[in-house]
């Protein structure tokens, strides 16, 4: 399931999936602009059929945060 998440981030940010890990985020991925951050959240919602709260959306600083919030919505990501 992590692969599914990394693939999605890779597609939205236009970076290789191999470069994605839980510590990556807007600080380390150059193409991760604030707008692309919104796009990512929206496409995550579509992909995993969840709806993030505004607090969750604002809390995303790295991939690990996304995993945590997805998990709160019942999405199980096995490594």
């Amino acid at each position: 399931m992590s692969k599914r998440l990394y693939d999605l981030i890779s597609r939205v940010m236009n970076v290789p999936a191999s470069s994605i890990n839980d510590d990556e985020g807007p600080e380390s991925i150059e193409s991760w602009s604030s707008f692309k951050g919104y796009v990512l959240l929206y496409e995550l919602e579509t992909e995993f059929k969840v709806k993030f709260t505004i607090d969750e959306a604002m809390d995303v600083k790295k991939v690990a945060d996304i995993k945590r919030h997805l998990s709160n919505h019942g999405v199980i990501l096995n490594d």
């Binding site: 236009n14 707008f35 919104y38 929206y42 496409e43 709806k51 709260t53 505004i54 959306a57």
Partner: protein, 583 residues
């Protein structure tokens, strides 16, 4: 129609460098909210149509300053089209939330003031640029603090926005270069709950949700198609399981599905949409593998057929290859393959057409016939910025053309055919009635076009008001009917002795009938009357204008360097099969 996700477009837009394009357009986007992503989608969607779209995105909510400042980057960008997207929240400000903090009279005054502000922006914009301006109208919110009493309230919130939209439409109606994009209708079509997402709005000031920006871009692309004059002219359609359900050769006249009950009503509905397009000027033709007698009997006699023989400019009902039929249809109608949309229920036929004739737009028809009507309605490829009288008559004109072709086949030679046609050319000046059509012909005509110079209505208007120019058009009539305005000339008076033909073109529908010589004869008579000694012209070859290649030498022009020159002393006779009259 399901759109791709926004990230696809954003990433694809970064890969467009090095792609080859056939056309170019400069698009400015100005708005009162975040427009991120819209430019990238337009670039990609344009590139899919071989159009290079160069975009300028104005600063966040800076549209007032950009328009009012004559030195702004907007004007330096020199846009061809500018989209101004303002949302209801911004235009109404606090009144959006608290409309009833104002009295009824104050609400009316407030709307009048807002329309005055927009009018001022339009006026300033019009003075500073030749760009078309497309303004979005305002969406009417479903929520009202008055709830169910809203509809009984004098000049309530919804009425206020309705009034603003009506006044905006009235304003644009009087201005050739200003258009209103019906954003309110966009919200109705997709649903307020889908277009506006509170989370995205509060988090990123995104007022059109990220999944709906591609749909908005799809609609805005219609203006690009209209501006560039690349809209489709003709629908070529299959019969079995497309225009009716079932196979007439197997199911028989009484066995096909067509009528008021489902599933036959899906085909009736589809035909109704096609008829509405025919009535606004889209040409219809048939390309079907069938026994002619079986199919024509349905077309002529079936009680529930909406489309009849007279609606089709060309009927290829035979057992020939569909690609060969398509080429023959294009030849007979004298239109480019890139003006044609092909509709067929069979995916194999569609794929064959896509591979064999890529300029034809092959529609991916849904499997379910109940969705056929929607598939056509969702297309933006028929978009035009103006529908002239000629456009609405076009379908009928092409049917008349079919009868002309039949006469031509039954006459022994071209000369006797032309004599029997009884061709009459009426030369008209450029005026408020003819200018839209003159501009349209310069934008759309490719084949019999000497210089392929494209002119917007504002350009034609300027030429027509300039004493240095002679601008005219030709209305052509024959025994089968009126072809409408189908010829254009723009002549620049270089000096007292020399005129220059800037533009000379004929619509493809009247090519091959010597009409060009009638029009040239008119220009020549005018030149003689003004004491002109030489008429100069230039043939600018394009990929498509080979049909006009010999026009100048055929009229007696002689080559001089890059130009062609006609000496007034030369002998030129208007063919006697033509009657030419000037208005």
């Amino acid at each position: 129609m399901i759109e791709k996700q926004l990230s696809y477009y954003i990433n694809k837009a970064t890969e467009l460098d090095g792609q080859t394009f056939e056309k170019k357009i400069r698009v400015a986007l100005l708005g009162s909210f975040t427009l991120n992503g819209l430019a990238e989608i337009l670039q990609v969607k344009c590139a899919e149509k071989k159009i290079q779209c160069i975009t300028y995105v104005g600063g966040y909510n800076q549209y007032n300053q950009e328009i009012l400042d004559q030195d702004s980057n907007l004007y330096k960008f020199l846009p061809d089209i500018s989209f101004l997207l303002i949302d209801s929240r911004t235009i109404l400000g606090e009144i959006f939330h608290h409309p009833y903090s104002l009295s009824t009279e104050d609400r009316k005054r407030f709307i009048d003031k807002k329309i005055e502000e927009i009018q001022k922006l339009i006026e300033v914009f019009g003075k500073k640029t030749n760009s078309k301006l497309v303004i979005t109208n305002f969406n009417i919110p479903t929520f009202s603090p008055y709830g169910i009493f809203e509809t009984k309230t004098d000049y309530g919130l919804r009425r206020m926005i309705n009034e603003l939209n009506n006044k905006l439409s009235e304003l644009a109606f009087t201005l050739d270069s200003v258009f209103v994009y019906d954003f309110n209708n966009f919200v109705i079509k997709h649903g307020e709950k889908n277009v506006f997402d509170y989370n995205q709005f509060l988090f990123g000031d995104i007022k059109v949700s990220l999944d709906h920006i591609p749909y908005l871009a799809h609609d805005l692309l219609s203006y690009v198609i209209g501006q560039l004059g690349i809209s489709k002219k003709c629908i070529v359609i299959d019969l079995d399981n497309t225009l009716w359900g079932g196979i007439v050769g197997e199911d028989g006249f009484n066995g096909i599905k067509l009528g008021p009950e489902p599933p036959g009503n899906a085909y009736v509905e589809f035909q109704r949409v096609l008829l509405s397009l025919y009535q606004r000027g889209i040409i219809l033709a048939i390309n079907s593998k069938n026994n002619y007698e079986d199919a024509i009997k349905v077309i002529k006699e079936h009680p529930y057929m909406v489309l009849r023989e007279e609606h089709f400019a060309c009927l290829k009902i035979n057992w020939n290859d569909k690609v060969s039929n398509m080429q023959e249809i294009a030849n007979e109608l004298n239109i480019g393959l890139d003006s044609i949309v092909f509709i067929d229920d069979d995916p194999v036929n569609r794929e064959y057409m896509k591979v064999s004739l890529s300029p034809v737009l092959t529609l991916d028809l849904p499997q379910d016939p109940s969705q056929y009507a929607s598939a056509i309605k969702n297309m933006n490829e028929f978009s035009v910025l103006n529908i002239t009288t000629e456009d609405s008559k076009r379908g009928k004109m092409y049917t008349e053309q079919r009868k002309r072709n039949e006469l031509e086949k039954s006459t022994p030679d071209l000369e006797s055919f032309l004599k029997q046609l009884n061709l009459k050319i009426l030369i008209k000046n450029a005026n408020e009635f003819t200018i839209p059509r003159i501009s349209q012909l310069t934008l759309k005509t490719n084949q019999f076009n000497l210089t392929t110079k494209r002119y917007q209505e504002t350009d034609i208007k300027k030429f027509s008001q300039d004493q240095q120019y002679l601008v005219g058009c030709a209305q052509v009539e024959d025994r089968f009917g009126d072809n409408g305005i189908t010829g254009v000339f723009i002549v620049r008076k270089e000096n007292a002795k020399e005129w220059f033909i800037d533009t000379f073109l004929l619509s493809c529908r009247i090519m091959g009938r010597e009409v060009e010589k009638g029009i040239f004869g008119h220009i020549l008579n005018k030149a003689k009357a003004n004491g002109v000694e030489r008429i100069k012209a230039q043939f600018i070859p394009s990929q498509k204008n080979k049909p006009i290649e010999d026009f100048l030498p055929n009229c007696g022009f002689k080559k001089e360097g890059d130009y062609w020159v006609y000496s007034i002393k030369s002998q030129f006779v208007i063919p006697n099969c033509l009657t030419v009259r000037a208005e």
